[in-house]
C-alpha cells in the first residue's frame, strides 16, 4: 500500500487480523520518506511483513518510472534501517525450491541445507549426495517476488499503459462502483500478462487496450482461490488470497483508494485443492 496512505489504509486491511503497531507505523512513515529520497523512487509502498520464528521482516517496495517493471524490494527489522534485496532470477528460484523448507527463521544469513540423494545402484552403495544450500536472504527475495507475481491485485482502470509502453498510475481513476467491485472480473494481477485465456471477439468490443492489458483475477485456477468480502460494516471491499494466506487487498468503492499488503509466514498454501 502506498506510504502516503499508510495512516488509514492499515485500518482497512486489519480485518485479516494483522496490523503494524503504533510505534512501527510511526517509524515506517518516517523511514519510507527518507527511503524515497535516497533511492529516488517515484513511489514507495509498504509491501508487508513476513513472520519468522525469531524475527519478522518488514518489506517495502519502491517503484520507478514503469510501475510494472521497475520494482525494487527492501527489508528491515526495525522499520528504520532498510537493506536492498537482490532481484530474483530463475536460477535463484530453482535453488530456493530445492533447498529451503519450513518457516523463515528471521536471520538473513541463515543457510538452509538439504541433501538431495540420488540412488544409483540397487544396493544403495553409491549414493550421491548433492548438498543444496541457499541463504535466507535469497529465499526472502524469491518469496517476495513470487507473491507479487502470483497474487498482487489492482482494480481495473487504476493503471494505464501509455503510448510509450510504460505502465503508470491513472490519475483519473475514480474507483469501481459497488456492483463492479462485487465481480472478480474487475481486478487484475499486477504482473507481466500471461494471457491464459483468449478473449472472445464480442468481449473485445468493450475492452480498452490501455486499461485491460493485465490478466484478470477470475481466470485463476483453482476457482475459488480468492475470497471476496465486504468488511468494515460492509463498506470496504476486501479480497483475500487463499493461495498465499495472508495477502489482503482492499478497495473503497467509488474512491481511488486501493492497495494490498501481505502479513504472513511466506509459505504457499499447497493444500488449497483439499481445503476448498
Amino acid at each position: 500500500m502506498d506510504s502516503d496512505s499508510l495512516f488509514f489504509s492499515l485500518e482497512l486491511v486489519a480485518g485479516s487480523g494483522n496490523t503494524v503497531s503504533l510505534e512501527q507505523k510511526a517509524a515506517l512513515q518516517t523511514s519510507l520518506v527518507i527511503l524515497k529520497k535516497n533511492y529516488k523512487f517515484q513511489r514507495v509502498l509498504f509491501w508487508g511483513k513476513i513472520l519468522g520464528l525469531k524475527e519478522d521482516y518488514f518489506i517495502a517496495q519502491g517503484r520507478g518510472q514503469d510501475e510494472l517493471r521497475d520494482r525494487k524490494y527492501l527489508y528491515s527489522f526495525n522499520c528504520m534501517d532498510w537493506f536492498l534485496l537482490p532481484a530474483a532470477t530463475d536460477s535463484m528460484a530453482s535453488e530456493v525450491s530445492k533447498a529451503a523448507r519450513g518457516r523463515f527463521i528471521g536471520d538473513p544469513s541463515f543457510v538452509y541445507e538439504r541433501v538431495e540423494v540420488n540412488r544409483k545402484s540397487e544396493d544403495g552403495a553409491a549414493e550421491d549426495g548433492v548438498v543444496n544450500k541457499v541463504k535466507e536472504e535469497t529465499r526472502l527475495s524469491v518469496t517476495v517476488h513470487q507473491i507479487d507475481q502470483e497474487v498482487s491485485v489492482v482494480p481495473r482502470g487504476s493503471f494505464i499503459r501509455n503510448h510509450l509502453g510504460l505502465v503508470i498510475v491513472n490519475r483519473s481513476f475514480t474507483g469501481l462502483s459497488e456492483s463492479e467491485s462485487r465481480k472478480l472480473d474487475s481486478f487484475f494481477h499486477f504482473r507481466e500478462p500471461k494471457n491464459p485465456k483468449q478473449r472472445f471477439v464480442l468481449q473485445n468490443g468493450e475492452l480498452n487496450p490501455a486499461v485491460d492489458f493485465l490478466d484478470v483475477l477470475s481466470d485463476d485456477v483453482p476457482k475459488g482461490s480468492w475470497s471476496l468480502q465486504f468488511e468494515f460494516a460492509r463498506r470496504v471491499l476486501v479480497l483475500r488470497s487463499l493461495l498465499w494466506l495472508g495477502l489482503t487487498f482492499y478497495h473503497l468503492p467509488r474512491t481511488p483508494q486501493h492497495g494490498y499488503v501481505y502479513f504472513g509466514d511466506g509459505t504457499k498454501n499447497l493444500d488449497l485443492p483439499f481445503m476448498l
Partner: protein, 517 residues
C-alpha cells in the same frame, strides 16, 4: 369625433404592431428553441431580484448567465430507484448496537459486569501487532454487551475471529448458566426398525448370512461445563447481527477434525464434504476447531491461575480440570516472560487422542472409569485391557510443549524495543498461525484471528481409505482347491487297492484262524 376615431385607429394600429412584434419575440429560435420574449422576461426578473450594481454594464453577462442556467432546468422523466446497498442494511442493524435502553440506571452499570474491557484489550493487541481495526473492535464490544444482556451470561470473553471464504465469524466464549443442558441428543431409532424387519423376513425364508460388523463403540461426549465443553461459544458474522450458539462438541468430531483440512465458508449450515466423512455441518466443524485451538493455545502467565481444590489422593492421577484465579498474583516482569517459555502455562485441558479431556474406558460398562497410572503422553494400542490415555495435566508450562516440524511451537517477543519499560510481552503460536497471547503487568489475554487451520508442515496428506473388508472368513471349506490330476487319481486308486488287498488278506487270515479253531 374624427380626432377620437383617428386616435382609436392609431391605437389599434399600435396594438397590432405591438401584437405582431410580440409574436415575433415569441417566435422560437430554430437553433436553441428559446425565444427572446421569455429570455428578456427572465433577465429582467433576475435584475429585479438581484439589483446588481451598475446593472447596465453587467447586463450582457447576466444575459449569458440566464441562457446558461436554462440548460439545467431540463429534467428527465426517469427517477432514480433507490437501491438499498448491503452497507445500508447492515447499518440499520448496527444502529441497535448504539441504542441505550432507557430503563437502565446509571448506578447499575458501574457495578462490575461480566463484560471484558475490549477497548483495553484492543489497544494492547494493537501494540502486539494484532488488530481487527479500531472501529470494528468497538462494534464487537457493543455486540458482546448485547449478547451478555440478552443471554444473561455470568461471564463472557472475546475469543477471536475466524476468517471464511464468503464471510467471517466473530466468536465469543461464555460460561453457560447453571442448570442449562443441551436438549439435543440424537438417538438411533431407525436401525432398530430395520433389524425388526430383517428378522421377520428371515423367519419366512432361509436364514440369510448376518453381518458380523459391529460399529466401534461411540465415545460419549462430555457434559456441558466440563472438559472440551467447558465453555459455550456464540458466533456471529458481523457485529450487530444476532448471535448464534454453537452446539457442544462430540469426541468423534474432534477425531475427524484432526484428519481433515478445510476452509470455512461463513455459513453455519454448509455441509462438510471430506474424507473421513465429518459427522456434522460447518457449525460442528467450527466448534471442533475452536475446541482444538483453545486446548492448544490458551495460555496465561504462571501463577495467574492456581489449581482448584484437590480432591482425593495425590497418587490417583485424576486430571485437574478446575482452576481459580490466584488473588496473590503479582505480575512477572515482561522481559522474563519473553525470554523463557516456562513462565507461561496452559490453562485449558489438553484433548486426548480419544477426543475427550478425561479418558473414558469403552470396553467396560459406561459409568466406570479406571484411573490407573498411565504413562504420560504416550498413547498405546489398545491391548486386552486398554491403557488409559493421559495428557499433560492442567497448568503445565509451555516449555514442555513438543517441537513440531523442526521449529519451536511458540515465538515470543516484546512489542517495542525502544520503550521496553512499558512494552507488552507477546507470544505467538507457530502451530496455529493466528493465535496470540499477550501479558502486561497483571493482565493477560488470548486471542485467535486466523483461518482456523493448523500449520501442516510440508503438506497435507489426506488419510487413505481403509482396505476393503473381507466378505467372508476364509476357511478350508470355502477355499478352492485344484481338482486332482489323472496321475494323482491313479496313484490314489492304486494305494486304495493295495489297502483293500491287504485288508482282504488279513480277513482271510482271520477266517483261517477261526476255521482252525
Amino acid at each position: 369625433m374624427d380626432a377620437s376615431n383617428e386616435t382609436q385607429d392609431r391605437r389599434q394600429q399600435r396594438m397590432q404592431l405591438a401584437a405582431s412584434f410580440k409574436a415575433f419575440l415569441l417566435k422560437n429560435s430554430t437553433e436553441s428553441n428559446l425565444n427572446l420574449y421569455d429570455h428578456l422576461t427572465q433577465l429582467l426578473m433576475k435584475v429585479m431580484a438581484e439589483h446588481p450594481h451598475n446593472a447596465v454594464d453587467v447586463i450582457e453577462d447576466m444575459s449569458r448567465d440566464v441562457k446558461r442556467g436554462l440548460f439545467q432546468d431540463m429534467q428527465s422523466t426517469l427517477r432514480d430507484l433507490p437501491q438499498t446497498t448491503a452497507a445500508e442494511l447492515l447499518a440499520e442493524q448496527q444502529c441497535l448496537l448504539f441504542s441505550r435502553p432507557e430503563d437502565r440506571d446509571q448506578e447499575e452499570e458501574l457495578v462490575e459486569t461480566p463484560l471484558p474491557n475490549v477497548s483495553e484489550i484492543g489497544f494492547n493487541l494493537e501494540q502486539a501487532g494484532v488488530s481487527l481495526g479500531r472501529e470494528e473492535m468497538q462494534r464487537i464490544f457493543l455486540a458482546l454487551k448485547q449478547l451478555v444482556e440478552s443471554q444473561a451470561l455470568p461471564r463472557c470473553r472475546l475469543w477471536g475471529k475466524i476468517l471464511g471464504t464468503e464471510s467471517s465469524y466473530i466468536v465469543a466464549e461464555a460460561e453457560c448458566r447453571e442448570g442449562e443442558e443441551d436438549g439435543e441428543q440424537s438417538t438411533d431409532e431407525a436401525p432398530e426398525d430395520e433389524d425388526r424387519e430383517a428378522e421377520t423376513q428371515e423367519s419366512e425364508m432361509d436364514p440369510l448370512p448376518e453381518s458380523t460388523y459391529k460399529p466401534p463403540p461411540v465415545v460419549p461426549k462430555e457434559t456441558t461445563g466440563t472438559g472440551a465443553n467447558k465453555f459455550v461459544y456464540y458466533v456471529c458474522n458481523e457485529p450487530g447481527l444476532p448471535w448464534v450458539k454453537l452446539p457442544s462438541v462430540i469426541p468423534e468430531q474432534i477425531i475427524v477434525a484432526r484428519q481433515i483440512r478445510k476452509f470455512f465458508t461463513g455459513r453455519l449450515d454448509t455441509p462438510i464434504v471430506s474424507y473421513p466423512p465429518f459427522p456434522g455441518n460447518e457449525a460442528n466443524y467450527l466448534r471442533a476447531q475452536i475446541a482444538r485451538i483453545s486446548a492448544s493455545t490458551q495460555v496465561s502467565p504462571q501463577g495467574f491461575y492456581q489449581a482448584g481444590e484437590e480432591e482425593g489422593d495425590e497418587e490417583d492421577e485424576v486430571p485437574r480440570d478446575s482452576y481459580e484465579v490466584n488473588p496473590d498474583f503479582e505480575g512477572i516482569p515482561v522481559t522474563e516472560m519473553v525470554e523463557s517459555l516456562s513462565f507461561w502455562v496452559h490453562h485449558v485441558q489438553h484433548i486426548l487422542q480419544q477426543g475427550r479431556c478425561t479418558w473414558m474406558n469403552l470396553t467396560v460398562k459406561p459409568g466406570e472409569e479406571s484411573n490407573e497410572e498411565g504413562e504420560a503422553d504416550e498413547k498405546e494400542e489398545e491391548p486386552d485391557e486398554p491403557e488409559p490415555e493421559v495428557g499433560p495435566p492442567l497448568l503445565t508450562p509451555l516449555s514442555q510443549d513438543a517441537e513440531m516440524f523442526n521449529s519451536p511451537p511458540w515465538s515470543s517477543k516484546l512489542s517495542s524495543t525502544l520503550t521496553s519499560q512499558h512494552a507488552v510481552a507477546v507470544l505467538r503460536s507457530n502451530l496455529w498461525p493466528g493465535a496470540y497471547a499477550y501479558t502486561c503487568g497483571k493482565k493477560f489475554e488470548n486471542i485467535y484471528v486466523g483461518w482456523g487451520v493448523k500449520y501442516a508442515g510440508e503438506g497435507y496428506i489426506p488419510p487413505v481409505p481403509p482396505l476393503p473388508q473381507k466378505e467372508y472368513p476364509s476357511g478350508a471349506d470355502i477355499t478352492e482347491t485344484l481338482d486332482p490330476t489323472l496321475e494323482e487319481e491313479q496313484v490314489l486308486q492304486e494305494a486304495l487297492e493295495e489297502q483293500q488287498a491287504a485288508q482282504e488278506e488279513m480277513e482271510e487270515a482271520e477266517e483261517e484262524e477261526e476255521d482252525d479253531d
